[in-house]
Symmetry: C2
């Protein structure tokens, strides 16, 4: 029997500040022989996500840091090519936690079978997967948008932000997106139906721009970025505003924590709520989100964008691109053909 080769990205050092290629290594190893109960999954697509930056640090957190010198793990879609587990068959297409590698050996736990005839398999990593659930629960459960209210989303052109804005439109809200270039803003306005957008990189007065875009103030803020963009939005929140803290990408690569205006004063003055969350907080309701999002996509009520880089060897570049704001919609890496 021939031994299969497996390329895999490992984390070799913990990034200080912005991660770089030196923190990672791509190496080729022999695949071990499959044990009873295991399946071998060939990667089709892997997902690179901003939250993974957190796992590259070893600061105290509720989530385990990636161990050094081991393969990086994240969401992925793959095909089972060999099975010694009676629940799975070769040919099954699955979504789950896979490595940044050509092949993942899995005991099958946490894998979910996909039907490629129903929807492109990539959607399981985006609009109907983790980013979609994140948008769904953060906006609806924390943000509780009501018809006629104003919803602002930062990181609006990303995998989560694009879904947040569209769900808010379905709920009858005025939707304002903040993003980092004009092409993104045009996409949000023209393709996704946002009511207004702000390019924070070219706006010389973000507060004034927000005032124009949100003449009635901000009722719901879905925050993906933090930092000075969030400072500006917080200066415009309404009484009893709700802020869903989904990400703080502006802060992830800082070598020293940044100081900013004290936000508790704003929350107090406005009887406002701010809540951080991760999608696993809503694990018992993931299926609800998946079904609802799938229905909205099938009905054409929600569109999605994907930015797909080709080749496992480009995974680190695709990940680093998230922090340069290069993607519209979900950033994926295509590893092999179905």
């Amino acid at each position: 029997m021939t031994v299969k080769k497996n390329r895999q990205f490992r984390l070799v050092s913990r990034p200080v500040g912005m991660p770089s290629n030196e923190n990672f290594t791509l190496q080729e190893v022999d695949l071990p022989e499959l044990q009873d109960g295991q399946v071998l999954v060939r990667a089709l697509y892997i997902s690179v996500d901003p939250y993974m930056r957190g796992r590259m640090s070893d600061a105290k957190s509720y989530i385990e840091p990636f161990p050094l010198d081991e393969v990086l793990v994240g969401g992925g879609v793959g095909e089972i090519v060999e099975s010694k587990n009676e629940r799975w068959q070769a040919g099954d297409v699955v979504v789950g936690q896979l490595g940044w590698q050509d092949y993942t050996v899995s005991n099958g736990r946490g894998l979910l079978k996909l039907d490629p005839s129903l929807a492109p398999v990539t959607t399981a990593l985006g609009v109907t997967g983790m980013p979609g659930w994140t948008a769904y629960f953060g906006l609806l459960d924390i943000g509780q948008p009501k018809e006629g209210e104003t919803v602002v989303v930062s990181g609006a052109a990303g995998a989560v932000g694009t879904i947040v804005g569209q769900i808010a439109k379905l709920k009858g809200c005025r939707v304002v997106g903040i993003a980092g270039d004009d092409a993104k803003c045009q996409y949000l306005l023209n393709e996704l139906g946002f009511d207004a957008t702000i390019n924070y990189k070219t706006t010389d007065d973000l507060r004034a721009a927000l005032k124009r875009a949100c003449p009635d103030g901000v009722d719901v803020y879905f925050d993906n970025v933090g930092g000075e963009i969030t400072d500006a939005v917080m200066s415009r929140i309404n009484f009893q505003a709700r802020i869903a803290i989904c990400g703080q990408i502006s802060q992830y690569n800082l070598e020293e924590p940044e100081l900013g205006p004290r936000v508790f004063t704003q929350l107090l003055k406005n009887s406002a709520l701010a809540k951080g969350f991760i999608v696993s907080d809503y694990a018992p309701r993931h299926k609800e989100a998946m079904l609802q999002l799938g229905q909205w996509v099938a009905e054409g009520k929600i569109k999605y964008a994907e930015n797909i880089v080709d080749g496992l060897e480009n995974s680190v570049e695709a990940f680093l691109g998230l922090f340069r704001g290069e993607n519209i919609g979900k950033q994926l890496v295509k590893v092999s053909d179905l």
Copy 2:
């Protein structure tokens, strides 16, 4: 008919930074003759509260600023000495919004009749009144403390903090109070049953002190003060912690907003919730709080402290003392005898 004289404190200029005597004037005016529908209330006690600092500024807020050159208005207990309103009779003792003055002319709206035989009338301004309701809703509705959890309260020896800690004890929590002198800390420990206290003025390492006082981290934080004390508490919050933002007294008198560590990162990492509130958010449930607190006081389950300054002319001093942390429990000014 003799014209009654009325002494009243007016706001003559808006404080910049810490308020001082120059912002106020005590002047004597003639009382107007009572119109139909009006009552004349003789002040017995007036309440001075930190939130009134906010109304002395004219920054945009959901609450009206005090107009300049008019009498300051706040909670008070008084006796109706003349009535041209059929709902009220001379001799009725009431609690409501009164002026910082000997006599208030009222149309009766918002006044609540008290029975002085049931409880000292001062409690209607403290434990069973607005500060008690504030503690009740902030802790129970936002904080949602569960048995065995750790609750930290800042401004712990104040009118609200003393009640927060005792309710948290009734709910089976470990209760840690932060206050500004040893006498207050001893009172909280020995009289009110707090589990631990921290004197932030004499502690050289607040974070280390919190770590000792909260070995299992902080599940609920009831924040009256903000600033660096809150920074330290936020560094110790647990996953899914709840923070009730009731006051930010450290910030009220700053001439420039202060910078601090960005707290959204802490909320995100911990899936934690922070919510500002004012007691009027819970107006439909005030009666529930009043009845429950009254019952707890009657059963000896909640104690209360009052700090009473004698004489209307000392109202401004009593108010300023709040920012110097002089009071244990509710700060009141006695204006006249029942």
